[in-house]
């Protein structure tokens, strides 16, 4: 038997994070940041690329602990937020086909396309399910052999291997009733695009740790080398973020510009090579992908390789999936927010026309979007 001897003291789940939320540690980092930042010649504008970090910053009120010369610019790293409406419409169209079960991850079901959300489609009779792990599709397909299960795959590098693992199983075991609509995107191309725009205001990046657990910290090498922007790969707890800010300030003060890893407990330079291999066996780069609010970004997304077109919903249903681009409401300034040029409060419809229950723009749709985080947690001080 594989059971752990009861005399062995096992690590409790909360021990994995409690130290990283320790009030005294957070406060002492705040003191250190105030002290170090006095030596900065100019303000440090840090883009936290990932919506998970935006969420941490707002939920724990970290902005309130920082001096006025340290600013956050909230980046485009929220897989639900950047999904353009025309692709959400694909999910809606597919979900309404007879004998189809449309499966996706969490938040995706409440994002409206131009004709409602998957939640609305479900209320009108479509069989829409959300799963925590894509592997749950196996059980759904097994329980419903007469139905076609379409997995609407979303997410950055973090969730891509989970889709690849499911595809691997479907292909290897010849499971006939699961197919895929792939919307996986990759983060470095979006970061580079933001920097190509001359009006940007970004001095440094905080990179998401979970992306680098898969892809390694190496994916950020171009940013210090080509764009002269330091990057710290950070965990998602408040202590992680505070420590990452210290590391970035120290880089600036030491005249260094490099990729550093704060989340050294799980991130290596090369990442999870096995997962990368699995991804590479099924996916290849798309020529371009339209990010909601930002626009077309070259090589910023993945698609199934041509030899797997027999499980590619975009190919199978090509005739009924429109490709025409659908833009957001003209009052919405999500594009500028995602590019770091505006803050949610600068938007005329923030909190009025546009709320989490009726999102108009991309940043309000997911709990990890910048606008949703500002709306939920406010910004009292």
């Amino acid at each position: 038997m594989n059971k752990i001897d009861k005399t062995v003291k096992r690590l409790q789940l909360k021990e994995l994070y409690s130290g990283f939320r320790d009030a005294e540690v957070i406060k002492s980092y705040a003191v250190l940041i105030h002290k170090l930042s006095k030596n900065l010649q100019k303000p440090l504008n840090i883009m936290e690329v990932c919506g998970g970090h935006t969420h941490t910053i707002m939920k724990y009120g970290l902005k309130q602990l920082l001096p006025s010369n340290i600013n956050f610019i909230h980046g485009p790293g929220c897989p639900v937020c950047i999904m353009p409406k025309e692709r959400i419409n694909h999910a809606l169209i597919l979900s309404k086909l007879p004998d189809v079960i449309l499966v996706t991850l969490g938040d995706m079901i409440k994002v409206p396309g131009s004709d409602g959300s998957l939640q609305d489609a479900r209320a009108q009779g479509a069989d829409v399910r959300f799963v925590y792990s894509p592997m749950d599709c196996i059980k759904i397909s097994h329980d419903n052999p007469e139905k076609k299960v379409i997995f609407f795959a979303i997410g950055f590098e973090t969730t891509t291997p989970m889709s690849a693992a499911l595809i691997n199983k479907v292909v290897k075991e010849k499971i006939g009733n699961i197919i895929f609509h792939i919307n996986h995107v990759t983060i470095p191309e979006a970061m580079a695009l933001l920097l190509e725009d001359n009006s940007h205001n970004i001095n440094a990046f905080i990179g998401p740790s979970h992306v680098s657990v898969i892809s390694g910290s190496k994916i950020y090498e171009p940013f210090p080398k080509i764009y002269k922007k330091p990057v710290v790969v950070s965990g998602f707890e408040p202590v992680d973020v505070m420590k990452s800010i210290v590391m970035l300030i120290e880089q600036v003060l030491d005249n260094r510009c490099e990729v550093e890893v704060e989340y050294s407990r799980s991130v290596s330079y090369d990442g999870n090579v096995q997962a990368q291999k699995l991804n590479n066996s099924y996916f290849e780069k798309r020529e371009h992908f339209r990010w909601r609010g930002i626009g077309d970004i070259t090589s910023s997304a993945l698609k199934l390789k041509p030899e797997f077109s027999f499980i590619d919903a975009e190919k199978i249903y090509e005739a009924i999936l429109p490709t025409q681009e659908i833009n957001d409401h003209k009052l919405c300034i999500c594009g500028d927010i995602l590019k770091g040029k505006a803050s949610p409060q600068n938007c005329n419809i923030f909190g009025t026309l546009c709320k989490p229950s009726h999102p108009v723009g991309s940043c309000m749709v997911s709990s990890e979007g910048a606008c949703a985080a500002y709306y939920k947690y406010g910004d009292i001080l």
Partner: protein
Amino acid sequence: MKHNHITLAHGNGGEESSLLINKIFYEAFNNDILKKSEDAAIIEGGKLAFSTDSFTVTPLFFSGGDIGKLAVCGTCNDLAMMGARPKYLTCSVIIEEGFSIDSLEKIVDSMKKELTVNGAIVVSGDTKVVPKGSVDKIFINTTGIGEVLYPEISASKITEDDLILLSRDIGNHGAAIFASREGIELSSDLKSDCASLYPIVKKLIDAKVKISALRDATRGGVGAVLNEWAQSSNICIEIEERHIPMSDEVMGLCEILGFDAISLANEGTFVLAIQKEDASKALEILKIYNSFASVVGKVTQHYSKKVVLHSEWGTTRFLDMPSGELLPRIC
């Protein structure tokens, strides 16, 4: 965007539920008693409390209870939260064709046990059996009448003279149900808090504790109760986050799935607004039943109609009304 159909978000006990109730039901049934929007209606010149609730839960049998226990606790708790002693209940069941008689007996047996805890009896009932697929196994409605022992409890009477207390650790029911429903296959000790609250309320009343408001934090969780109170009483409720009691199991589930325990449902946990001078007396009584009971906050006028959370490291943020369907985070 306007909704043309009912979605699950309309049933979450948060923002969408309020909209649905206000726009459709309150508008049609409009009267002064209903508009008070309390856990139970106070009728007959303040002598009686009157409440109804329908129950549907998957799975029917869960760790810490079943739909039968829930159906009695739910309605009796609504009465108890208005300072009333539950007396008479009606019980109406809609059963799907093919449902197991054994399960039905188990459910009714749980109801019987829970009625005893409350000292209430079922005095009228109804049974409907519907074709397969018309309901999900079994739906139960209970309606209850209680005798008001402590009048003047109301969500709109909370003032700066009150302190806010929680009767125990939060989020257990929602976490237990979610863990079993989604097949996350967690090995955990999560157990619903499903319980009758009348015995505790009776002790508070007997001890002459000055109660301003009580509310069991069911759908929408503690977050929804605090927001409703802040709005009804036109006050600001300021909560010390570190004082919110939470078990390791609930916190663990929330960590994994990205939930906030403060918006998870409870079925035997209540929020109290107690006059300051009696808060320690109330806490002492609550602690007899659960050692997690805690004073969690105070009432101010800083941000009217808002709930403010204070962190241990000196930052503050709003706690808003839970909104949308509970969905696990993506990454």
